[in-house]
Amino acid sequence: MDDKLIIAGHEFNSRFILGSGKFDLDLINAAVEHAGAEIITLALRRVNSFNGNILEHIPKGVTLLPNTSGARNAEEAVRIARLAREAGCGEFIKIEVIHDSKYLLPDNYETAKACEMLAKEGFIPMPYMYPDLYAARDMVNAGAAAVMPLAAPIGSNQGLSTKQFIRILIEEIDLPIIVDAGIGRPSQACEAMEMGASAIMANTAIATAGNIVDMAKAFRHAIIAGRTAYLAGTGRVLDKADASSPLTGFIME
């Protein structure tokens, strides 16, 4: 089946994006292998730490998606993106602009601004955002290559709390919608894919699992299942009984 995820002209077979924030480097390889991830996000602030260069630990064929975590406004996001490019992380950049240390919710306004500034500098911006239709449109107009709405507060493992709003983005935005943050279980990843999300990003759900490799596999299968169901076109699921003969058949005249 030729069903590729296409971001800014780059093709990916996998629709699973692995967050690395809570991973030991040693585990990344295993997770990539078993979850089939082709894109790994990476906080620039974690690049180059200790055990040599993290870039050397990224398996071949995997695209690095550095993020701007630590940025509190658009200008800081741009500076971090430039540092990421200098560090050899490529043109993809996941924009994260957060200035609330409690909920870590993204600031859509600053994120849209960062999108515009980074697109002008030749980056491929992928904004992490709160699923708001107007903000998503602004980001698209500013040059985003995909839109990454949160499912629930980051790290919360609460699942698809924002489902109805993500659904609207899927309907209205022509770019890939990648559900990011808050996905706690494979079933939730499946649900998001089934309604038409283009990809899933997860980190905590796998990093904190009892068995990381098995949970990575479970996510892989769940995402494929959801995607397949979406492409198949889900059958009718009615709220009430569907009578096999007309309910009004008794009417004589």
Partner: protein, 388 residues
């Protein structure tokens, strides 16, 4: 003689007053109103169930009524730590660059009446120490001084931060409280995190413990974190020296202080430290306000549950066995390769005496191994300095 002592509530002429902030007053007022004996087991259970714990829940978790629930608090804290920090544990080392102090804090080894060997590293000495520490693989450093503006002025601390910035990715300071413009200066030099221990939030008690020096001025210290945030610092750390006064009230004040500042400055990164005065063992009168490990853990878990997103540093004063068990449960940061003397990372014999005896002298590699043994991940840096 007491009558010659300065009024501990009156700012000295060079001290900046935050006219537009009442956070310090609010913290003290709330602490005074905190009656931990009124909380019941039901309050504690409710607090443990809360999705977003309130200050009332925090109050319950610090109360004696919560003591029988320590196991449940530890379980809840572990879940919260996992959710917010995954399996990461950050590492840092403190570096003492000067132990001159002009304060007279009766409980402290550095106080100006103690006849200890005083020393101050010059810039070359600082560089040598930092180079030696950086060679161990450490990426985060906390620069400490005794509190003497004369012997370690803002420029000296700023220069130390500049040097640190060459060797480390993350630079914090734990020095005397400064004015906003001074924090801004030190921030420009490369520091982004400020730790100030209030010691105790009970101003009457504070006055009896801090007999002289700048540190005697209670409200100036109390507002240090707010000035630091206004000066552009990314994060601020809070602590009371538990056991100086009623530890439950002080811990309540610490949490409330952090809570109010985070609400006012939502971008600020918040963290807690938990130093304590050890109870004297075999004391025939057991003091209910003593902070044994059990009480210390209660406070740490209460901080974690109340502010699950906040950092929590476990002190080197605690034994390795305690430290290793609280990482992943409530603590998110642990020191390694610690020496509290002056020049002790490069000299065989340190030039200046220690502030306190440490209880965990393991190297960075040893602490990293202990972290990994618990299925956790040592993180040497999770930060990027963005100047300007």
């Amino acid at each position: 003689m007491p009558e010659q002592r300065t009024d501990h509530m009156t700012y000295l002429p060079d001290m900046e007053i935050l006219e537009d902030s009442d956070i310090g007053e609010q913290v003290v007022a709330r602490m005074k109103a905190y009656d931990y004996n009124k909380y019941t087991a039901a309050d504690v259970k409710r607090a443990l169930e809360a999705e977003y714990p309130s200050t009332e829940d925090f109050a319950a978790l610090l109360s004696p009524a919560a003591e029988p629930f320590l196991e449940q608090m530890a379980a809840k804290a572990t879940v919260e730590t996992r959710k917010h920090f995954g399996n990461s544990v950050c590492l840092f080392t403190p570096l003492y660059i000067s132990n001159y102090c002009e304060n007279y804090c009766i409980y402290c080894g550095f106080n100006c009446h103690n006849k200890i060997r005083r020393a101050k590293l010059d810039y070359d000495g600082i560089r040598r120490e930092m180079e030696a520490i950086a060679k161990t693989g450490m990426e985060e450093i906390l620069i400490l001084t005794g509190e003497s503006r004369k012997m370690s002025d803002v420029e000296y601390i700023g220069e130390a931060c500049r040097i640190a910035h060459e060797y480390f990715k993350n630079v914090g300071i734990e020095v005397y409280p400064m004015n906003t413009d001074e924090y801004a200066y030190v921030h420009k030099c490369g520091a982004d995190y400020v730790t100030v221990f209030q010691e105790t939030y009970n101003s009457d008690k504070y006055e009896t413990l801090h007999l002289a020096g700048h540190k005697r001025i209670f409200p100036y210290r109390l507002n240090a974190q707010e000035r630091a945030i206004r000066g552009g610092m990314r994060g601020v750390a809070f602590a009371a020296l538990l056991g100086l006064d009623d530890f439950r009230k002080d811990a309540y004040a610490v949490g409330t202080h952090a809570y109010l500042l985070q609400r006012k400055y939502p971008h600020a990164e918040i963290s807690f430290s938990c130093p304590r005065l050890r109870p004297i063992i075999n004391n025939d009168k057991i003091n209910p306000k003593d902070v044994h490990e059990r009480q210390l853990l209660q406070v740490m878990c209460a901080y974690r549950i109340f502010m699950p997103f906040a950092g929590l540093t476990i002190s080197t004063r605690e034994r390795a066995g305690f430290r290793d068990n609280v990482i992943g449960m409530c603590a998110t940061k642990i020191s390694a390769g610690v020496s509290t003397g002056i020049g002790s990372h490069t000299e065989e014999e340190s030039k200046g005496d220690n502030q306190f005896e440490i209880s965990d002298d393991r190297t960075l590699d040893e602490v990293c191994a202990a972290i990994r043994n618990r299925g956790l991940q040592p993180v040497l840096n999770d930060y990027v300095y963005i100047s300007g």
